[in-house]
């Protein structure tokens, strides 16, 4: 567990002990307002995904902001336990839950919380149904469609229809509808540069990947089975899916805190979570060494970007150290004791390394917020 120095409320942000995961509450609240003001008037509702913060306070402020389904989505049963314990009573698990022990835990959460789960296999449907019957609960099973990520999910059309029928005949389960998480459009690399798709390109990709989902809904309904929900994600397609007839829920998780990668696709949100680090060595003119390495930044999918002056750049992260290269006007800066701000490239992997958010407002510490969902891998 992290062992932060719990500095007093009001501590200036630059005095916070490092490395620290710092959230600017003003930026976060603005991000939430941008997203929720859209969904307060859109035809679909928003289901915030907690992977983007793992923090119940933030989940509750998302639900309070309106335009939602009144609940959240999670990746694991462990996360469902944490968020139901924090008072959220409508949770969709967007992964498969298959082992007997996990299904029992899921049914236990369903005693006190509305629970949905993604399925892509008939035997798994039977296991869930039997456990739900034994526990005396009802679980909403969503048919997961493979929407291009190449991970789990059944194919559109007949396989989805067959599984939906199977669910609808299973006691202990309700057919929740369809779930699809199309792949986030990737930046293409040109030399060292990443070129991100434009809004027009994003829209094309979203419409292309969502059409088969809507077609499948239609074919299931023409077979006489009502499809109560069509849930699709994530942040990158929110205002494309949000007003698409037939889509009832948009799952989105990145938007409250954001990260470097997501901000390139969706400029209306800003990066509210950053890592504060300290320079511990400046061995030669062109190099400064930070006290934040990969354990404090989670750079598995991309290294953090330094928020610095021209000529300064974060170039490498070993386990315990980060390396800054300094050229031109940056050369005299970043001396031992100086602070540096790092913009995480993928926030989920960064906050996976912390237990606390240092919540700040107007440059001052407002509190330490625990992220009890962190580390709930199963």
């Amino acid at each position: 567990m992290e062992r932060p120095i719990f500095q007093p409320v009001g501590t200036p942000v630059n005095d916070i002990d490092t490395p620290a995961l710092v959230v600017d509450l003003v930026a976060m609240e603005l991000n939430i307002e941008v997203m929720h003001s859209y969904f307060r008037q859109a035809s679909a509702n928003l289901r915030p995904h907690i992977a983007g913060h793992q923090c119940p306070q933030i989940a509750h402020s998302q639900i309070d902001a309106g335009g939602t389904v009144g609940g959240v989505s999670v990746n694991t049963v462990g996360e469902a336990e944490v968020f139901s314990d924090s008072g959220i009573n409508n949770i969709l698990v967007v992964n498969q839950v298959v082992t007997a022990a996990k299904i029992r835990r899921l049914c236990s959460v369903a005693q006190r919380c509305r629970i949905g789960v993604a399925v892509d296999n008939a035997k798994n449907v039977d296991d869930l149904a039997q456990a739900a019957l034994e526990a005396g609960v009802t679980i909403e099973a969503y048919v997961e469609l493979e929407a291009g990520r190449g991970i789990s999910g059944v194919a559109e059309g007949k396989p989805a229809l067959d599984l939906a029928r199977h669910i609808s005949k299973s006691k202990g389960l309700h057919f929740g509808g369809l779930l699809a998480m199309p792949p986030v459009p990737k930046a293409r690399k040109e030399g060292d540069e990443r070129i991100y798709p434009t809004h027009v390109e994003i829209k094309q990709v979203a419409v292309q990947s969502l059409q088969p989902v809507l077609d499948t809904k239609k074919s299931i309904e023409s077979d006489g089975l009502r499809v109560p929900n069509v849930a699709v994600g994530g942040t990158w397609l929110y205002d494309i899916a949000g007003d698409m007839p037939g889509i009832t829920e948009v799952i989105a998780g990145s938007y409250p805190l954001m990260d470097y990668d997501s901000c390139q696709l969706r400029g209306e949100f800003s990066q509210a979570a950053k890592v504060l680090a300290q320079v511990i060595s400046h061995p030669v003119e062109a190099t400064a060494i930070l006290d934040a390495g990969h354990k404090a930044t989670g750079p598995d999918l991309g290294i953090p970007v330094l928020e610095g002056m021209a000529g300064s750049k974060a170039t490498g992260f070993s386990a315990e150290h980060g390396t800054l290269k300094l050229e031109g006007e940056a050369a005299g800066h970043f001396n031992p004791g100086d602070k540096a701000w790092l913009l995480p490239y993928h926030l989920g992997l960064c906050l996976n390394q912390y237990d606390y958010i240092r919540a700040v407002r107007d440059g001052k510490l407002e509190g330490f917020w625990l992220m009890p969902g962190r580390g709930r891998f199963g």
């Binding site: 567990m1 992290e2 062992r3 932060p4 120095i5 002990d17 490092t18 490395p19 620290a20 992977a51 990746n75 694991t76 462990g78 336990e81 992964n95 498969q96 298959v98 082992t99 022990a101 996990k102 892509d120 035997k123 798994n124 493979e146 190449g150 991970i151 789990s152 999910g153 320079v279 511990i280 060595s281 061995p283 190099t287 060494i289 006290d291 934040a292 990969h294 354990k295 750079p299 598995d300 070993s318 386990a319 315990e320 150290h321 390396t323 031992p336 004791g337 993928h346 992997l349 996976n352 390394q353 912390y354 237990d355 625990l370 009890p372 962190r374 580390g375 709930r376 891998f377 199963g378």
Partner: protein
């Protein structure tokens, strides 16, 4: 915080809730014994690095089994706190400690344990001295010499000598010696490793000789890591070898066949969506994929195809099948990057749980 999962002793491995981080206790003991055996005949000893396991119980077992200096290295002050509070009598922080808040905590630990710290800057030495003198404790200071990482450290012998003289004259500090850290080339041939280690570490020996010629005793020369444990250990003048990866092991050290994989993430197949494809419940958050993808342990024909934060997609060779509910074990490409994501080791021997250890220093970044 993770799901508060403590399977009872004796639980069969196939009944473990996944994903979980398991430690094969036979292999852990083997790895400790390789080190104990090697250093039994050496003038140098291992000072095991706690950044790799972050668990006082493992540090104590490592010291008990032999070959060590009787203490540990730690990367950060918070990690050192966990080790000292857990009863480790001597801790060497192998990074520079700059922030006044951290220096004060470091000094407080010196009430209960021998505390050593790396230093590469005279101003930092003066800050350490002021705090140690104010708290009435003594800090052991070890000069870090840069030997090719492009990271911290004094750059040459002259800088090192000047810093040694500065430290020598400061109250509250005891000049202890020199350390260096090197990059990790893959060198399966031991002769090559010995030659490379001697080449890289010659600079450290030169600095030691220069400081001693100046009349300042050099008690500690600390260098090396797992890749060079057997090469550096034999270099005259080296007193301590830093090493930690060997305990848990990772795929990048597979060429060192005397060490075996002890740390693995146990995962369950949750989806078999298409022929030749299976999806498991452990992803990047649970295993890490910094240098490479993890490898599947002991299942020919099953390979990691891609990972997302919460899941891994496996490719199955023709004729190989996996069922939903099947377990796999994943071997990490980088073991400390895997361990630092978990709150608990589940120690397993002969297919059954033997012990559950809290990874108390996980998240101790500061």
């Amino acid at each position: 915080m993770d799901y508060n999962y403590r399977p009872t002793v004796g639980t069969p491995m196939e009944e473990l809730d996944t994903p979980c981080l398991i430690l094969d206790m036979d292999e852990l003991d083997n790895n400790m014994d390789v080190i104990a055996h090697f250093y039994a005949g050496q003038s140098s000893k291992l000072r095991g690095h706690s950044k790799n396991h972050k668990t006082p119980a493992i540090a104590h077992r490592q010291i008990r089994r032999g070959g060590t200096i009787g203490g540990v290295c730690s990367a950060k002050v918070a990690e050192a706190e966990v080790m000292v509070h857990g009863g480790i009598p001597s801790v060497f922080i192998t990074s520079e400690v700059i922030a006044p808040l951290k220096i004060d905590r470091l000094c407080a630990l010196a009430q209960d344990a021998e505390m050593l710290v790396a230093c590469d800057d005279p101003k930092n030495a003066r800050d350490l001295s002021r705090a140690a003198a104010a708290q009435g404790v003594e800090l052991g200071v070890v000069i870090e010499l840069e030997t090719g990482m492009g990271r911290c450290g004094v750059q040459d012998v002259q800088q090192g000598l000047a810093l040694a003289r500065t430290i020598q004259g400061l109250p509250g500090l005891a000049f202890k010696g020199i350390m260096s850290h090197q990059t990790i080339p893959v060198m399966p041939d031991r002769e090559d490793r010995v030659t490379e280690a001697r080449r890289v570490i010659q600079g450290v020996i030169n600095l030691k000789d220069t400081i001693e010629a100046d009349g300042i005793p050099v008690e500690i020369v600390s260098t090396g890591e797992t890749w060079s444990y057997d090469a550096v250990g034999e270099i005259p003048g080296v007193t301590e070898v830093q090493g930690g990866s060997y305990l848990i092991m990772e795929t990048s050290y597979d060429y060192m066949t005397e060490f075996h994989h002890a740390g693995k993430v146990l995962t369950t197949i949750v989806s078999t969506p298409r022929p030749g494809v299976a999806v498991g419940d452990a992803g990047i958050k649970a295993v890490g994929m910094l240098r490479a993808m993890p490898e599947v342990d002991g299942r020919p024909g099953v390979t990691v195809d891609s990972m997302d934060p919460d899941r891994t997609v496996y490719k199955l060779d023709a004729g190989v099948e996996l069922q939903i509910g099947d377990q796999l074990a994943l071997l990490p490409p980088q073991q400390d990057a895997m361990v630092s994501r978990w709150d608990r080791f589940i120690g397993v021997r002969n297919g059954k749980v033997e012990v559950v250890w809290d990874i108390q220093a996980r998240g101790c970044h500061n």
